[in-house]
């Protein structure tokens, strides 16, 4: 069985990486290619690059941006944002991505999804499913960055995408986006076991314990996170070290793992006890006169 993946998401708005909260509030982070290089150096298993304005502005994610990000490291990159047809996909693949992620297209034109899967193979197409929970507790799929209610049940919708030839489902809870309160486990348990393709879950991860909770499910192939990876040194290797200390099934081939380090409640490397730090400090060596 494959090792479970940790996917780092880069959400791009007006050319810069942002943190997204509830698909409506955005905080700036920095240049995409620099964030991508950090992700790669810190041992990310895969990067997903999404231009969250592209669909609304009726354009495709910029191939130059895609090129810069895919050249920033040596791990796979998936790109999404405003993809309309197989020509768009071909241009992005030539720019250097390994897979493409579709959201609006999947909600409008399943025939085009079938064509894309025939041309590039199912393994190349990731179907994004954004889900919102209503006050009554019912789940519904939303498209166009969460602005349009498709009125569809997430399980039936995701199955439809798989039947059209999508090779992976990227399942996001809009309600949990940016909340740091953990994944929507009810949603994941409802959708993931019903599908035959790998499922990536996203939305709400705020610390490694949240990832561990989702990774424990057999039906989850990959966990994704965005906001909590930024503004924190070595965020991915620290998080993976925490997970490996907890015996979670993640890839640990990385030259700076924090094995056997103490962690605080937020999953960050904790300060060592004072006594230990003093022991590690300078040792006085008396000068020996010759």
């Amino acid at each position: 069985m494959s090792i479970k993946r940790f996917i780092g998401c880069l959400l791009v708005k007006q050319g810069i990486v942002v943190q997204s909260i509830g698909f409506e509030t955005y905080l700036p982070v920095g240049k995409p290619e620099i964030a991508a290089r950090f992700f790669d150096e810190w041992g990310v298993d895969e990067t997903v690059l999404l231009d969250i304005d592209a669909s609304k502005e009726n354009r495709v994610i910029d191939p130059d941006l895609v090129k810069k990000v895919s050249r920033a490291g040596f791990a796979p990159v998936t790109a999404g944002g405003g993809i309309r047809d197989t020509e768009d996909i071909r241009a992005l693949l030539e720019a250097g991505v390994d897979k493409i992620c579709i959201n609006k297209l999947a909600s409008q034109d399943l025939a085009m999804v079938e064509e894309a899967s025939r041309l590039f193979g199912a393994q190349c197409i990731v179907g994004s499913v954004d889900v919102r929970r209503s006050e009554s507790g019912a789940y519904s799929v939303f498209a166009d960055s969460g602005s349009r209610d498709c009125g569809a049940d997430p399980v039936a919708y995701a199955k439809g995408l798989v039947d059209a030839g999508v090779g992976e489902i990227f399942l996001t809870s809009i309600d949990r986006d940016g909340s740091r309160s953990g994944y929507d486990m009810d949603l994941i348990k409802m959708v993931a076991p019903e599908l035959s393709v790998p499922v990536i879950v996203c939305g709400g991860a705020g610390n490694p314990a949240h990832l561990e909770e989702a990774l424990k499910l057999d039906s989850v192939s990959a966990v994704a996170a965005a906001n909590f990876l930024h503004h924190s040194e070595q965020s991915i290797s620290v998080m993976k070290s925490w997970l490996r200390n907890a015996d979670a099934d993640v890839r640990g081939e990385y030259h700076a793992m924090y094995r056997n380090f103490p962690f605080d409640d937020a999953g960050r490397v904790a300060k060592l006890p004072d006594g230990e730090l003093i022991e590690q400090s300078f040792e006085f060596v008396e000068d020996e006169p010759i």
């Binding site: 050249r71 490291g73 796979p76 030539e94 991505v97 041309l119 193979g121 790998p198 057999d218 192939s221």
Partner: protein, 222 residues
């Protein structure tokens, strides 16, 4: 200088080999070029017979559907040239993902398609189950035969896979396997031909080591 991914200077005085990345309209050529650039090799992306004949070694990458790929190779009219250079003159070839599958006799992907048939083997669908889903996407550890291509790569070292079909061939050709519910071919070696089901250009340090080993092989140092 113990960084295992840093390019070696031990070239035995040989000229830098001209590596050609074969462009047949399928796949992520830039990533392969990017990885080789990291290793200090400036590879050319080409699809014309003249450049192919002038090259010393080849990389056949590939993302996409088998039938479409064979169609493109036929349309380019370079199969004869490749057979002369690789099968007769024994220039090194590194096939990646679809570039491994195309070397087999045929594939069941989207019907039945004939491949290049450079070795005996057939490409068949992966039989998934609830735990081992299809496509097989993600990082997986490999067991390798100790072939020099895997020099300084540990057993169970992980590489990035992304495929729905896999190769069935003579076990003598198999250089590495992985486990995804069933044991599958991860790499093959037939004389000057080496090919992987996974993507070395997308497998971080392990992948760079493998490509480095191929470059050394092209230099005649392995």
């Amino acid at each position: 200088m113990n960084d295992p991914t840093s390019p070696s200077n031990g070239t035995n005085g040989n000229a830098v080999p001209k590596i050609c990345i074969l462009n047949y309209g399928m796949g992520n050529l830039g990533s392969v070029q990017n990885a080789l650039r990291f290793l200090g090799i400036e590879a050319r992306i080409a699809s014309d017979a003249d450049t192919i004949e002038a090259a010393d070694a080849y990389i056949l990458p590939g993302v996409g559907a088998f039938g479409e790929a064979m169609h493109n190779l036929n349309k380019l009219g370079i199969i004869k040239t490749l057979e002369t250079e690789i099968l007769e003159k024994a220039k090194p070839l590194f096939g990646i993902c679809l570039g491994l599958q195309l070397l087999a006799e045929d594939s069941q992907e989207k019907g039945f398609n004939k491949g290049l048939g450079w070795f005996e083997g057939h490409v068949v669908p992966i039989e998934g189950d609830a735990l081992n889903r299809v496509p097989h996407v993600g990082w997986n550890g490999i067991d390798h035969s100790g072939d020099p291509a895997f020099l300084k790569i540990e057993q169970q070292g992980s590489f990035y896979f992304d495929h729905s079909f896999h190769l069935e061939c003579d076990p003598k050709l198999v250089a590495a396997t992985c486990d995804h519910g069933q044991k599958m071919v991860a790499a093959i070696r037939q004389r000057n031909i080496f090919a992987t089901q996974f993507h070395p250009e997308k497998s971080q340090r392990n992948g760079l080591k493998l490509l480095r080993n191929f470059v050394h092989y092209c230099f005649g140092n392995l």
